[in-house]
Subunit: 263 residues, 2 copies
Amino acid sequence: LLEPETGRRNKILDAPSLEKAYRAIKTGVSRHKTVVVVGNCWVDYEGRASSRLEPGERIVLFKSDGSSMVHRPRDYAPVNWQPPGSIFRTRLRDDELNVRVFRRKDNEVLEVTFDSIALVAILDLKDSGAFYLYASEEDMKQAILAQPDILEEGFRPITSEKPVAPGFIDILGVDRNNVLTLVEIKRKPATKEAVLQLKRYMDVFTIDENREVRGILVAPELARGAQKMLASLGLEFKSISPQRCSEILKSIKTKQLSDFFQA
Amino acid sequence: LLEPETGRRNKILDAPSLEKAYRAIKTGVSRHKTVVVVGNCWVDYEGRASSRLEPGERIVLFKSDGSSMVHRPRDYAPVNWQPPGSIFRTRLRDDELNVRVFRRKDNEVLEVTFDSIALVAILDLKDSGAFYLYASEEDMKQAILAQPDILEEGFRPITSEKPVAPGFIDILGVDRNNVLTLVEIKRKPATKEAVLQLKRYMDVFTIDENREVRGILVAPELARGAQKMLASLGLEFKSISPQRCSEILKSIKTKQLSDFFQA
DNA sequence: TAATAAATGTCGTTT
DNA sequence: AAACGACGTTTATTA
């Protein structure tokens, strides 16, 4: 334990010496804690590309899965980082605290060197909370499979994620007249790119020119240029919002629950 | 000033009460500081999609440009975030500290609610250090423009980033026989997608079927399926690594420096 | 504002 | 391991 006398799981050092920071970081990393370091530092990266960040004050995270990131006082994205699976090595010499993050894959090295430290936090984070993302494209697909009528009355799905030459058809089915129908789903306004994607899938099924095949693009709306392209290619559009799909799924789950408790 | 008596720029609170944390965060955000909060929290997001993160201990960053991110003890990517330009609102009630991050664009809301705090850091980070990235696609282009022979002996660039219907041709030039030559550059193994991109550019210049035009794809290597497609479309490939380009640029800069000091 | 392409993209899945 | 597509992709650039 880091502080057996207090029983606390976290260790916070406010403006520690390099020596104290070094010991805390080294111990923290070896014990698979999450380490936050704030201080004046410079950063070198060598790998798929290479980079150099001149000195300045930043927030650096070292996580126990081997991922790490260097955050400047602005921007959403870290200026430098290393994905999970990397290995840490901490060193202190010549009034410089150096953390090297090595990643076997791509032979990548990230080196952060501090010459002054404002904060070190060694954190033992307990986090098992579930994460739910709703209204994803997957949700939209599940909603259409569960209630095919929202696409069109009489539509019957046959398969989903059907592998074809260019990729995967989201849903393959037949309409009320038994005409083969390809469904491509987008959770955002469908772009020309989405139209072309559906067209590529269509091409696979239109080897026989006599056989009728329908292609329906499902999305909350059509993006600007997409309408014209869609029409010229003889494809169709059905507006369905991800939110609506999310609610359909929710109502199905609620129904399943109530059925369960009634049974 | 946060702590006028000490003159320190940063304020570190180790396991503060919700009330103390609330005041520090509210003040810090309003004064455009960088705020780090570690504690037990749950997170809701509503926008292009929606999400729910159940309670757990996380590291949350609030930056003065309006960006924010929620980091779990593992993974490179934040589990939830908000890009720059968002607006913070901090509230305390019913033993819950709530920070709402609102983004006008896409009408997105991120809400982080804490019920216990392990650390609050209000940071006044001074960071003006320059960031240099090497071996980017831009570097590759500059290297070819500076030493066209690395593409092919006798190649002469005419323009770069030439705007054409589908986008921008990386480099437009002529070969030793004055044949118009289009160059598309990729820093990673060139995929079929890159081949198609070059093909689209080629189409613009082949209105006149009699006029010869060459298309050269520059990349460290060709991805699996790309070779066949390239050949079938009559396009060419030249292997150049981003690293090599980076070194060419470096040597040019060194030369320019030595010339400067000799003069 | 819309469109297009780049990114050390990352991440999951499937071959 | 390689390939392929999705992502709340984000970001920059330009018409």
